[in-house]
Subunit: 167 residues, 2 copies
DNA sequence: TGCATAACGATATATGATATTATTAATAAA
DNA sequence: TTTATTAATAATATCATATATCGTTATGCA
């Protein structure tokens, strides 16, 4: 997994097919272990997200899903996304109402920090024990019990920043 | 302003009217200084948010606004909110599609960390230079230029946690 | 006073998401 | 293998959130 995060092959000539196969196999194994069903529909949605290489809205995904399963309706995609989020394979990016494959679903122990490029919708995922500790400390100060953290940083990625300079 | 943040008077017997007047006066002064118009409609929306003491959805606000201005339509409230966000008086809480008065609009130099109670929608705003520095360092590592940060922590506030224990 | 701009009103529509109910497929039990 | 049970999918309706457009009105300023 480590070498196959979104940022690693975004804007590169990296062989998606290989990476895609690897990720899909990992997800399949996990589902088998958890005794949950990775149906063809759910698998298709994962495929679409892996091929996209950027944050996709539910309706982006629905449009593409319809090409394969023409009967798909909004609830179709939301059901698939709900399942994938529940299992930790997908993150919802709250600040742009989009969805991405979680690049570390096999190790869900840390909080995701998403760096979102507002130009190309590519997303880099990072982690920081320091930030996690600091958040816990702020929570404790306020007697607040943390359940889920949304850390989404907007800006411009290296690639898009270079493009602007290059123009 | 410091003594009048949302958390300070939430669930307390603090005199809202005083705090409200003070906040409103500060906003009025700032608008005068910036040469922008704080219209009665915009003022009403600020009032509604100050009285609410929790995150309000656009349509929550619209319903209340309609009681005062019956002609109000969705664009009415979104225009007011856009203005108030632009001027830094209001934050959008991205992960719940709600809006709050920013308790430190007179000093917008730091990133807001919102602790959101999923039981009562009350919100505590915090800041952390440590987290800001850590985010900058992660951004630099990825050659990412930060423009705007969304830090929203979900969980249970002290008051709601006590309620559950007390039952 | 008259022009330019900003704000507001009104309608329509787009987008995002959930609820409900029906139907079909997969698995387990008799 | 038939029936019961459960999970998955389909279809539609509805709710929630947000924007586009355009005509009108108010305000500030030359």
């Amino acid at each position: 997994m480590e070498k196959c995060t979104n940022e690693a092959h975004h804007h590169s000539k990296h062989n998606h097919q290989l990476c895609y196969e690897h990720t899909m196999q990992t997800i399949e194994k996990l589902c088998a272990k958890r005794n949950i069903r990775l149906t063809p529909q759910r698998k298709t949605v994962i495929q679409l997200m892996l091929n996209a290489d950027k944050a996709m809205s539910a309706y982006d995904l629905l449009d593409q899903l319809k090409e394969i399963e023409p009967q798909a309706k909004p609830p179709t995609i939301y059901r698939a996304l709900d399942f994938l989020i529940e299992q930790g394979f997908v993150h919802k990016v709250e600040s742009i109402n989009c969805y991405i494959i979680c690049p570390h679903f096999d190790d869900p122990s840390h909080i995701s920090i998403l760096f979102i490029c507002d130009k190309c919708q590519s997303i880099i995922e990072e982690h920081s024990p320091i930030i996690e500790a600091q958040l816990q400390s702020l929570a404790q100060k306020n007697m607040f019990i943390i359940q889920h953290s949304v850390l989404e940083i907007h800006g411009t990625c290296q690639h898009c920043a270079n493009q602007i300079v290059g123009q």
